[in-house]
């Protein structure tokens, strides 16, 4: 009887936690839609293949990336 009580209490506790998580998921789903969070698209450097934040190592190293960013900034500020 002791074990039956124990396991039933454990199951009840697990059910409460599981439904808390389910309700939390449901609420989060709604709140996130209300907040209208947009997909983040990392700013890519001109010449970078789609989906890559940095150019492939074979084509550019970090110095070239820094230069490319500086050039892009200067161009955008002069417009």
């Amino acid at each position: 009887m002791v074990l039956i009580k124990f396991i039933l209490s454990l199951y009840l506790m697990a059910t409460v936690v599981a439904f808390f998580i389910a309700i939390l998921l449901g609420l989060m789903g709604r709140i996130i839609k209300i907040l209208n969070i947009q997909e983040l698209h990392p700013v890519s450097i001109p010449g970078t293949p789609p989906g890559q934040i940095m150019p492939p190592a074979a084509e550019a190293d970090y110095t070239e990336i820094a230069v490319a960013i500086a050039v892009a900034k200067r161009e955008s500020s002069s417009k």
Binding site: F19, I21, L24, G26, M28
Partner: protein, 436 residues
């Protein structure tokens, strides 16, 4: 000494058969044949090939390659062992001797580093969860969280039933019984984890039994579904929802995964490593960092699965299988998974009834977790009856919820029954079995 006289020393795999007790020799031959059978069934697709092929070959080979070799002098009286791994190294010794033995055996047995550094500390289970997480789409749970979680809670029935049975009828301690009952949650990594925390001496046999049965579930559950759900219900085509399902972008899914990971870790810190790995996998999937996703869902997942299967096979040596506690474990493990399957199907039927027949009850079997095997089983069974019926998205949602409910139950078991828990002492006192 003549050449004929040294032949037994050369072919020690055979010689050791004649130097062992008959029941050990017969068990070794049986395990070799069982290994071949598992490989065959894996290749045929009846069992999960990814686990069964390395496990089967490992089981057959480790039982064939026994020799007169006992560097730690722990295999009295004949001193027979293999060059694969020593699962019980250091157990029962004082810490300094245990550490010395472990270091010594790490330099001898080729799979010992994998066992000691990835298996017995649960790293391999975490890596599998990381890879599995990177294959999961949390959007499936977000679509119908209450339905998924209800089915998943039904599918924990095996854990609920087997725990008291193991204590009452097989005289296991509450901790051992909990570690065995968690097999019903059908999450290999969770079983490894619970056994490691609650019943370290039974860690090896429980993990072997759990993965053996998880492989068998792939072959057995379709028959259970067919037995419990009539053909007419299996063929139900789920109508599209009245409101189109909300689509979540990857940024939203990542936020949900991060919050859920933190909330679950706050609630169940003891299961946090596994929870973290699962949600890290999901976050990597949604992050858009393709090289990382390719790494964890490809090479890392497959390497971890290969070594998991291999280590489990190697652990199926005659010493483990002949442990008197293994037979009850085999029975209880099978019972736990079977009852969980029945519970999941009952959950599916309950949801079918509540929704007025709009949900195909076969999704219930996916609540048993075992990601993504049971979801694949559910879709396979339904496709046989009605090829145009697609239940996989909901089934995957139930599968993911099954992982969450298994983590919840394992976490509660581990918190309540860990060695220094006052609750355990009270429970044992109540059972008339006070720990000194």
């Amino acid at each position: 000494m003549s050449f004929i006289e040294v032949i037994p020393d050369v072919f020690q795999g055979i010689t050791t058969l004649f130097h062992s007790e008959p029941k050990i020799a017969i068990t070794r031959i049986f395990l070799i044949l069982l290994g071949f059978t598992l490989m065959y069934l894996g290749r045929k697709g009846v069992l999960e090939a990814m686990i069964m092929i390395p496990m089967g070959l490992g089981m057959a080979t480790v039982n064939a390659s026994v020799m007169f070799f006992d560097p730690l002098s722990i295999h009295a009286p004949h001193g027979m062992s293999t060059l694969f791994l020593e699962a019980q190294v250091g157990s029962g010794l004082e810490p300094v001797q245990a550490a010395a033995d472990t270091i010594k055996i790490l330099g001898i047995d080729w799979l010992q580093p994998v066992f000691s550094l990835t298996f017995s500390n649960n790293l391999i289970a975490c890596l599998v969860f990381l890879g599995v997480g990177s294959l999961l789409d949390i959007g499936y749970v977000l679509a119908r969280p209450i339905v998924c979680m209800t089915i998943a809670m039904f599918a924990e029935l095996g854990t609920l039933v087997v725990f008291p049975l193991a204590v009452y009828f097989f005289n296991f301690t509450p901790q051992e019984a909990a570690a065995i009952a968690v097999v019903g949650g059908a999450d290999g990594p969770m079983v490894l984890f619970t056994a490691l925390v609650l019943a370290p001496p039974l860690f090896v046999p429980i993990s072997v039994v759990a993965y053996l049965y998880l492989g068998l579930a792939y072959g057995g559950y379709p028959y259970l579904v067919k037995m419990m759900i009539p053909k007419k219900l299996r063929a139900i085509k789920m109508p599209p929802p009245v409101k189109p399902p909300v689509a979540y972008n990857s940024m939203e899914k990542m936020i949900v995964a991060a919050i859920l990971c933190v909330v679950l870790s706050l609630l169940l810190p003891i299961a946090a490593p596994l929870i973290f790995c699962l949600f890290l996998g999901i976050s990597i999937r949604e992050s858009g960092v393709k090289p990382l996703q390719d790494l964890v869902s490809g090479p890392m997942l497959y390497t971890a699965t290969l070594f998991l299967g291999l280590t489990l096979g190697i652990l199926c040596d005659v010493n483990t299988i002949m442990d008197p506690k293994v037979l009850p474990l085999l029975l209880l493990g099978m019972l736990s998974l079977l009852i969980s399957g029945v519970g999941g199907i009952l959950g599916g039927l309950f949801i079918w009834w509540v929704t007025g027949g709009k949900v195909n009850p076969v999704v219930g079997i996916a609540g048993v977790s075992c990601v993504p095997t049971t979801a694949k089983v559910a879709q396979k069974v339904v496709s046989k009856e009605n090829p145009s019926s697609i239940i996989l998205p909901l089934a995957l949602g139930c599968c993911i919820s099954g992982v969450i409910t298994s983590a919840i139950i394992s976490g509660i078991f581990c918190s309540l029954l860990k060695a220094d828990s006052g609750f355990l002492v009270n429970l044992q006192q109540a059972l008339g079995n006070v720990v000194q």
